[in-house]
Symmetry: C2
Subunit: 213 residues, 2 copies
């Protein structure tokens, strides 16, 4: 008889900038003792401010510079996968969080890490997918917007939804003030989604996600 | 010198069925003394249950049977306009509310009554436009949905948004339970939008609606 060893889940976070969602996730893991190990933060920009923050929080960092992979999306993503594997963030025992990562991930990467890649989007999907969601919301004149944590699939912001949160849009809101309001909700639901994933409370059925109590 | 006489705003409501939103609007007008006269309820179905309810509430009713106008959308809408005029629901002194009216209104009608036709949609637009919005929401797996009162323009549920309201979607919700939750919010915001319109609190700028305090 062999003992089944339950390995601690390994987390990889991909960033391009300051990575405020990365920071909220890393803090929550520590504070709430979420059973997941922040294994590595990978940036596609050498000067991403989030790199210093990750280091300060004791997390290993890697840079895979986008500039060296122009027009080579699949090759880039193979490099990401190889770095993730180096840190044991595998499809069977890993979770990948996109946190302001400004590249489109390839179908190859998505297939390999099916339902293991999370993203956050600053709108109540399916409203306002794609870039500049807050600006889209202001221009459309909605009275509510919000944010969505979802699994990444091959579409643009179309994957199964884990959590959403709402903010009110007032007459006076601009793209900037709305972005700020939404960001504070992002910092609540993204760590919460990581926690639900780590505690195995997420059930996926087709494109629907059920959160177990 | 001539006296300027301020005429009371005249309301026309178009229905196809039981018209529960019609009823909520008519009750609110009475209860909250909204300065608008419910002039006429028009149904495109001779057997619409809302007709009896309107009569009971002392509102005149008219039937323009869809069955007699197959493939003649503009002719149908000209007939509607002529009935509206008969009841003084004019583009300058009228408001038209679609309340479960199952016909697409023609560009001719929309142009004539620009920013004078309201509709309610059972989703937080721009999410889930078109038919069966609640079913679309359940299938997509959103965690929030709601309803939207908007001005009718030439697109499908694309006009300037006046009010929106939110409902939470739970794991257990079905199309039926979600529809019920949304409907109760519809009955709140549709009368409120009519009241804002009647009290001249609505400012339209491009596709954006500002509610004045």
């Amino acid at each position: 008889m062999r003992n089944k060893i339950q390995l601690l889940l390994q987390l990889g976070i991909l960033i391009s900038g300051r990575g405020s969602n990365m920071e909220s996730i890393l803090s929550a893991i520590k504070k709430r003792k979420i059973p997941i190990n922040p294994a590595v933060v990978i940036s596609d920009k050498p000067n991403a401010k989030g790199l210093a923050i990750a280091k300060k929080l004791g997390v290993q960092t890697e840079i895979i510079d986008s500039a060296n992979y122009k027009g080579k999306r699949q090759q880039y993503d193979k490099e990401i996968i190889s770095i993730l594997r180096k840190y044991k963030v595998t499809p069977t025992n890993g979770l990948v969080c996109l946190a302001g990562f400004m590249r489109i991930v390839s179908p190859h990467f998505i297939k390999k890490y099916k339902n293991k890649i999370l993203n956050i989007h600053p709108a109540i999907l399916p409203a306002f997918p794609g870039l500049n969601a807050q600006k889209q919301a202001i221009r459309f004149g909605v009275k509510f917007s919000g944010c969505t944590v979802h699994f990444v699939d091959e579409g643009v912001d179309t994957g199964p939804i884990i959590l959403q949160e709402i903010v009110k849009v007032s007459n006076r809101d601009t793209e900037k003030t709305l972005s700020k309001k939404i960001l504070s909700k992002e910092h609540q639901i993204y760590p919460k989604a990581v926690e639900l994933f780590a505690r195995k409370k997420i059930l996926i059925k087709g494109r629907k996600v059920k959160i177990q109590d």
